[in-house]
Every structure is written in C-alpha cells, then in structure tokens.
C-alpha cells in the first residue's frame, strides 16, 4: 500500500517535471527523485555456518553473525551483493529487493578451503588516493590471481608485499612483462615489507599477476612512497626489525 502511494507521488512529480518550462538541473532532478527512492525494501542476511562481511554495491555495510541476520534497509531494486569471510573467497550475487518487503537470504559458506575458486576475471584495482594510502588486497586462495588497472599515460606504481611471498608479474597492454625494480634496502629494512617499483608507460590496461605455489598474501598497490624528510640512505634504516613484521615463508 505504502509503496503504491509513493509510486503515485513519484509519477505525479515526474509529470510535473515533464511539463515544466525549463530543463531541470541534475540537483533538482535528484531532489525530485527522492520520493521514489522511499519505496524501500530490506535485505536480511544470514551466513551459515561462519560469520561474514557483507558488501552492497561495493560498499562495506557490516558483518553478519552466523546465527543472526544483518538487516539492510534500502531503496528497492537490484543490488550487487558480496559476501566475504576471512580466509575464504568471495561470493558475488545480484539480488532484486522487492519494494516494501523484507527479503531474507541465507548464504551458505563452506569451510572447505580447497573448494575456493579464484576469480575468473581480473579484479579491478587502483592506487590509493594519497601518498600514504594504498589499495590493500589479499587472498588465501589458489593462485594465480590477476588484478588490473587502466591508465591514461605514464605513471609509476609500487607494489608493497605486506604478507606472503608469491611470484609477482606486471604486464603491459600487449602482455609484455615489465621490469620490477626492488626499492632501496633501507626502505625494505625500515618496514619489513618488500617494495617493488614498476613504470606503466603505455596507456591501457596493465595487469598484476600474483602467482606461485599458493598460500596467503596481502599486498598494497600504491602510487608512491611518502616524501622522506631526511635521506633515503640505507644506513639510516631502523636496524632493529620487529619480528612480527616478517613475512611468512
């Protein structure tokens, strides 16, 4: 009933917009569309048997405990739903949320690691928005896993391997492997991570392939290192490396 009322109101607004004397600006359009958006639906999500992280339209919205549901109330319609559990692969679904109703879903998560499927298509990736920031990705599933970034012109990227010791290859749009330059010893010694610099000179889609025998890895795809206030002389590197930062072998 309520959704019908909102739909009628929305239709009326659309009619008024259509008869209006001028082309509406985007902001006005957004304001006028709001009543339509209030035709709400809800997703109630269970995960079985493990707790899981839930992403809707690519945005993290919360965790669902295995025994309780995470309720997301949102405009009705189609949503991209991603469910992820630590140490396992992601489940990606598309779901139609009915207007004015609560749709209760249960994702069944297997605990069998060997059944994890690696993504069949490259995973889009982009650099962090700040020199200190970076995209952090990781997986404990089978390798290889491919990430890709499309660039317009020559840029430099840095791969920071936080955990794990996989084989890393970056390929240009023609599939040619690009040289990965190890960063100065001082930088590595200061952080306990491996830093590799690569130049993406050609416009187009470049691919980072994480391969090797498998095992977990976490890496960052970065657009630079922070400016050093002093020197990058390796002799300044912190000599004492905290052992917990060592990558697992």
């Amino acid at each position: 009933m309520r959704s019908r009322r909102f739909a009628s109101l929305g239709s009326l607004l659309l009619l008024l917009v259509a008869c209006g004397p001028k082309e509406p600006q985007p902001e006005e359009q957004a304001q006028r569309a709001r009543p339509m958006e209030r035709a709400l639906g809800a997703l109630a999500l269970h995960s079985d048997p493990a707790p899981a992280f839930v992403f809707i339209d690519g945005v993290f919205v919360g965790e669902t405990a295995a025994e309780a549901s995470l309720v997301v109330t949102r405009p009705a319609g189609e949503v991209d739903l991603r469910i992820a559990a630590p140490g396992r692969g992601d489940g990606i679904y598309r779901v139609e949320v009915p207007a004015g109703e609560k749709l209760t879903l249960k994702a069944t998560l297997t605990l069998d690691q060997s059944r994890w499927d690696r993504p069949t298509r490259p995973v889009p990736i982009g650099p962090g928005q700040d020199l200190r920031g970076a995209v952090l990705v990781g997986s404990s599933g089978p390798l290889p896993v491919t990430y890709e970034e499309t660039v317009a012109g020559p840029v430099e990227r840095i791969v920071c391997l936080v955990l794990g010791n996989p084989e890393l290859v970056v390929r240009d749009p023609d599939g040619e492997a690009l040289p990965l330059e190890a960063m100065p010893e001082g930088v590595q010694g200061a952080t306990g991570h491996r830093f590799l610099r690569v130049r993406l000179d050609r416009p187009g889609t470049h691919r980072l392939v994480v391969g090797g025998p498998g095992g977990g890895y976490v890496l960052r795809w970065m657009n630079g290192l922070p400016p050093l206030s002093g020197s990058d002389d390796p002799s300044l590197a912190k000599r004492r490396l905290a052992p917990e930062s060592l990558a697992p072998k």
Binding site: L40, P51, V59, F60, G62, E63, A68, L70, V71, V72, T73, R74, I83, P86, G87, G89, D90, G91, I92, Y93, R94, V95, P98, E101, K102, L103, T104, L105, A107, T108, L109, T110, D112, W116, D117, G128, D130, R132, G133, A134, L136, S140, V162, G186, A190, T191, G192, G216, V218, L225, P226, L228, S229, G230, L236, A242, P243, E244, S245, P248
Partner: protein, 264 residues
C-alpha cells in the same frame, strides 16, 4: 507470494551464473511486508560492532577502506584516548588518532571483545594502537624512516594489559608503572582468546611471563631460529599462531600486539 517467487527466480538465475563454488547457494528464507518501523534507510547490526557507525548504521570507512575503532563500547575502550593514556603514545600524538583497521582485523577484534566480555563481564578490554586513517608510513621521530613497523596495514591491534584490581589503569612492566597490579592469569586469558580467534602473530615482552601459564606453555613450542638477542619465537600447536617474546626491558611491556589475519 508473487514477490517471493519473482525474487527467487531472479536470485537463482543470477547466482547460478556468478557465484564461486564455495558459495553454492544463496537460499531465500522468505519475504515479508516491511513493517512501518523499519521504513528508514540504514543498517541494523546483529550485535554492536566495535567500529564507528554513521547515524544510519553504515560503518564509517576511510579512503583506504579502513574502519575506525569506537572510543568505547560494550566490553572495550580505546586505550590511547582514555584518561591518563590520552596522548601518551607517540603515534596518537602525531596522528590524532591511530585507531583505524582493515575490515577483517576489525571484525576479528569484535569477536575477541565478545569472547572477553563473556569471560570477564566486569573488566573492559583496552585496545590501543592500530593504524592511521590511511595506513601507511608514519615517521614519528622525524628521521625520515618510517616507524611503528607493524601498524601500517590496519591489521595489527595492540591490546593493553588487563587489570582486575584497578580496571583501565596503565600497567607497564619493565618501567615501574603500576607493575604491582599486573595480573599474569588475566593476561594469559587474553592471549588464549587471541589464539582461539587465530591471531597470526603475537608480540609481547618476555618479562610478562606468558609461558609460565601451564596451558600456554604446553601449546607453544620454541622455534629453532637464530637467537638475535632481541626476541624468541614460538609456534602454537594450531600451526597458525606465532608468538614473539621480546627481551629488551619494557619493550611491549604494556601490551600484546596481535596481527589479526586468519589467512589460510
């Protein structure tokens, strides 16, 4: 009923084409009319998360994809922002807040807090440094080299030494600060919970006597590694957790640093 069937057909069609094997099914349990009371856009969590939520229930997420630990909540408090602790650490002084973590680490932190609450409902757990808003490479002493080695990826969380006699006091073994209040049994309990949640690495000071606890001593075996005079490493029987006991006086003497990564 029509809505149920429509949704079911939609999900079945698309799920079959797009899911990985490990998520074979997205089972539809039902569809019901949305109560008027729920007709607001937002997220209702099954339990209060430890991270900051916006007014509508969505998590606050940084540009780097990190979640911010709340100042306090059921069973925990942010140690670096509390009372005598405020501004006491170099990281927090420099960054304003150093309580941002990766989604998986923050989810595990929530589960650790939950377990702790179940065992010690009257003692809140102090959570200290994690990472800055964007993670990265803090240089606290200004020498051009990044510090705080393990707190760059939002995956390492410091848990303060819990105290029964004077809750939320800062105890720092090796510096003389409230050492008399240190409760080895309570600390061993915390570490047991971290292991149960499959923390990947744990780092603390050897003087805290963690392996004097019989259960932990039985579970951790010394690793055959070169002794660098700084740390001894131990591997847990679960094959996942590694423990580092630092020998310099006072180093990590007020907390245990847990790398929260379930990994394999």
């Amino acid at each position: 009923m029509k809505a149920i069937l429509t949704a079911a057909a939609f999900v079945t069609l698309l799920v079959g084409a797009t899911t990985a094997q490990s998520y074979k099914t997205l089972e539809i349990l039902g569809s019901e009319a949305l109560p008027e009371a729920e007709a607001v856009t937002g997220v209702r969590h099954p339990r209060p998360p430890v991270y900051v939520l916006l007014e509508d229930g969505r998590p606050l997420v940084s540009e780097a994809g990190y979640l911010q630990l709340a100042g306090e909540g059921p069973g925990f408090y942010y140690g670096a922002g509390a009372g005598a602790r405020a501004g006491s650490s170099r990281a927090s002084r420099r960054l304003g807040s150093n309580n941002w973590g990766a989604i998986e680490a923050m989810g595990l932190t929530g589960r650790i807090v939950e377990r702790w609450r179940a065992r010690h409902p009257d003692i809140r757990l102090g959570i200290d440094e994690i990472s800055s808003r964007l993670g990265g490479f803090p240089d606290y002493d200004g020498d051009g080299i990044s510090d705080h080695l393990t707190h760059q990826a939002g995956m390492n969380v410091n848990f303060l030494l819990p105290c029964r006699r004077q809750p939320e006091v800062l105890i720092h073994v090796g510096t003389g600060r409230h050492e008399e209040l240190f409760d080895p049994g309570l600390f061993a309990d915390l570490v047991a919970i971290l292991v149960a949640e499959r923390a990947y690495h744990l780092t603390t000071n050897a003087a805290l006597g963690l392996l004097d606890d019989p259960d932990l001593r039985a579970a951790f075996a010394a690793e055959d590694r070169e002794d660098d005079g700084y740390a001894r490493s131990y591997r847990h029987a679960n094959g996942h957790t590694r423990l580092y006991l630092l020998t310099p006086r006072g180093d990590h003497g007020d907390h245990v640093n847990a790398l929260l990564w379930k990994g394999h």
